[in-house]
Amino acid sequence: MSDTPARAALIASLVDNTAPVRRVHPAEGAALIALATLAAALGMIALFDFWRGIISGEASPFFWITNGLLLLLGAASTAALVAGALPRVGARPNAPAWTLAMLGVLPLAALIQIAKAPDIHVHTGLADPHSWHCLWSALGAAVVVGAAAVLFLRHGAPVAISRQAWLTGLAAGSLGSLAFGMTCPLDGIAHLGIWHVAPVPLAALAARLIVPPLIRW
């Protein structure tokens, strides 16, 4: 089969509409997501005040471990997401899965702490309003990051829609929780390991449902 008349007409029309284009760069997507994270963090700080314990040295090691792992997961998910915005075939990076597994140690440690030493953790119950505040605020920040990711993906041409939706949720959830984490003075493992990690799977599930129709092309 060679060019059919219909195809020849289509090619003529496409050629007629050919103009210079500005290339889509994955680095620009990463920068956009980083800026959205910064904006979300500044928004959270404006609303809830920066926790000065972070710079005074008061923050516990759990604070640094939790937020460090959230940052790693956010970076790995963002890198995979922006790479997947361009059509390509072949192996895909699995760093997000490994960093998610690393983050998964925290809720496990938190549950063991709560079960075995409940007296030393004051903010662990489901009825604790501070914890719900952390969860909802982190998810609010995740919406900002997720919107930036979707904006970039719509600009690109993702060919693995489900994977990109999961990655959007992982990046948004982890970076959103990190952004809110700058304001939260509760730095015990029982609080951080549950309430600051929970936004990640919740955002991932929400993104898996919401994002595909937004990025399909």
Partner: protein
């Protein structure tokens, strides 16, 4: 003879910069390459439609090609994306027909399409799902006739066809 990878990459680079002559050659050559790509994947009468869909996508998304990478894998990724989309549309259409109880009135064209699209993937399905799809979607039997022929209940035939087609679409989507 089809253009080679370095030539196609040069043409694509020129097209990104607005070169209409390069765009004309690239789109024509890509059309030929895509014909070969789809020849082993879809029935002959669907090839031209899919080729045109991919050419439109190539043109619309030309900003997403990175000149430091080869061109053909980029084009193959778009072609595969459009092919999966085509299969998904076929699956939805067939699933809709199934639950409208109109499977027995499938045209010959639909039956041929189902065989070409699904035959190669049948090995991945449980035997009863493959049997249900084979009898109804390819053999052209009604749900009742397939139920009698296979010994599966009518509900099971419907469920097995639904699950089988869904699994096939998922298999194709996951495949590299």
């Amino acid at each position: 003879m089809l253009a080679d990878e370095p030539t196609l990459a040069r043409l694509m680079h020129a097209m990104q910069q607005g070169d209409k002559a390069a765009a004309n050659v690239l789109l024509s050559e890509s059309g030929l390459w895509l014909e070969r790509y789809f020849r082993r994947r879809v029935p002959p009468h669907h090839i031209d439609d899919l080729v045109q869909e991919v050419l439109i996508a190539l043109h619309a998304k030309r900003a997403t090609w990175d000149p430091s990478r080869p061109f053909l894998p980029w084009l193959a990724a778009i072609a595969r994306y459009r092919w999966v989309d085509h299969l998904r549309r076929s699956y939805r259409q067939q699933a809709g027909e199934l639950f409208d109880d109109s499977a027995s009135t499938d045209s010959e064209e639909d039956v041929v399409l189902a065989r070409v699209s699904l035959d190669r993937l049948f090995a991945h399905l449980p035997a009863r799902q493959a049997e249900a799809i084979e009898l109804v979607k390819i053999g052209g039997l009604s749900i009742e006739e397939a139920s009698r022929a296979s010994g599966q209940s009518e509900s099971l035939i419907k469920v097995n066809i639904h699950r089988g087609l869904k699994k096939l679409a998922a298999l194709v989507e996951k495949a590299e």
